[in-house]
Symmetry: C2
């Protein structure tokens, strides 16, 4: 496996290294908005919070900085990147381009195993929806669904970039509390996307994906504006 994502590919259980565990944990917390944007990280506090020594912690922070979830300034530690309207626009725009491209390719390449995976992922997501479990578990399944959707696009690097953009986008989307009305609409689209994928209707699928990202963008933008 040549180009595994910076994330530990296999979910690191209690067995992984301290460094990889704190990386995963910090990544989740950063994406989930548990740190305030622009905040300077107090390494000693993190050490306590994540129950880990300095060396593995610093290695995780270095990885997150290279990944784009932290900013590193020489000799003055790490901080959480600021949020900005411009950047949100940039991220959304890039998602449009890249996920659109990936979806078209995935529809061209995906086999029947993919179809099954896709149905399963959509089902699990709806399941978590009904259970009203809109917490960390839902987020994970949601990520997983979008990942599955574009998985057979054939480009390792495209997938990698999309993953990175999702993390960045979610920093905005997850700023505020849930919005059930729009959420409903977005959930609808997940199933429609599966439909169109199974029908191999790449053109319509891409249009729907564009719309999906656009709606998500509006949610994220509203949250950002309320948050400032």
């Amino acid at each position: 496996m040549n180009n595994s994502l910076p994330t530990s590919a296999k979910p690191v259980g209690p067995a992984g290294t301290a460094s990889s565990r704190v990386f995963d944990h910090l990544r989740k917390d950063l994406v989930g908005g548990r740190f305030v944007a622009g905040e300077k990280l107090a390494i000693n506090a993190l050490k306590d919070r994540y129950q880990v020594g300095l060396s593995p912690l610093r290695e995780a922070l270095n990885k997150l900085a290279a990944y784009g979830l932290l900013v590193q300034e020489n000799q003055r530690g790490f901080r959480v990147p600021k949020l900005s309207r411009d950047e949100l626009d940039d991220i959304a725009q890039m998602r449009l381009e890249m996920e659109g491209m990936a979806l078209e390719r995935a529809i061209a390449n995906g086999d029947s195993l993919w179809e099954a995976d896709l149905l399963a992922a959509a089902h699990r997501l709806k399941r978590a929806d009904i259970t009203l479990d809109k917490g960390e578990e839902w987020e994970h399944l949601h990520t997983q669904f979008h990942r599955t959707l574009v998985a057979p696009c054939g480009s390792v690097w495209l997938l990698r970039f999309i993953e990175q953009l999702h993390d960045q986008f979610d920093r905005y989307r997850r700023l505020g509390p849930k919005m059930p009305t729009i959420r409903q609409e977005l959930d609808e689209q997940h199933h429609q996307l599966v439909e169109l994928a199974l029908q191999r209707d790449a053109k319509t699928a891409r249009e729907l994906m564009d719309d999906h990202i656009h709606k998500s963008y509006e949610v994220a933008l509203k949250r950002y504006q309320e948050h400032v």
Copy 2:
């Protein structure tokens, strides 16, 4: 400066941290093919080679892994990613998409300062060409030229991805010795690209950029095939 590249934005002189210095150095060496693909890195050897302690070295290695120039396997250190035809194709394809997009946007946005920078970058590159300095200095100016070309595209993330793809691409392109014949042709194109950029002919510029990447791809592929 929110989204600085993983690289130390300001060229880290002798003043930067040990970690950032060894990061820059290792990055150059990895891109320049001073390690053999697939090789496992012996950390203690690197410690001597780069004259740094274990901690800053490991932090640099972690960053490089997140950046994609190394592969990290839990509990078994770091290795140089393997090369493969499939990956080269992927990288080239992605370069086509992303640099094409970036160039069109840059031509739409770039101001007269950009025009000046572009002319300057092209001039410096040609200069280094004539001086027959086809070493590390030429490589740097070449990178700088392509960076300048797309700089005003308006997307921080697009620039970031392009930079990453260039590094990956160069791992293939720089496998073997120089090829003066094709090199000449590619150098020509640099100047033509400037021409078209100044004329704001986005369409033709993109076509030329496609051709430029395609030719570079052929060089890289040949090198890769000879290298195996």
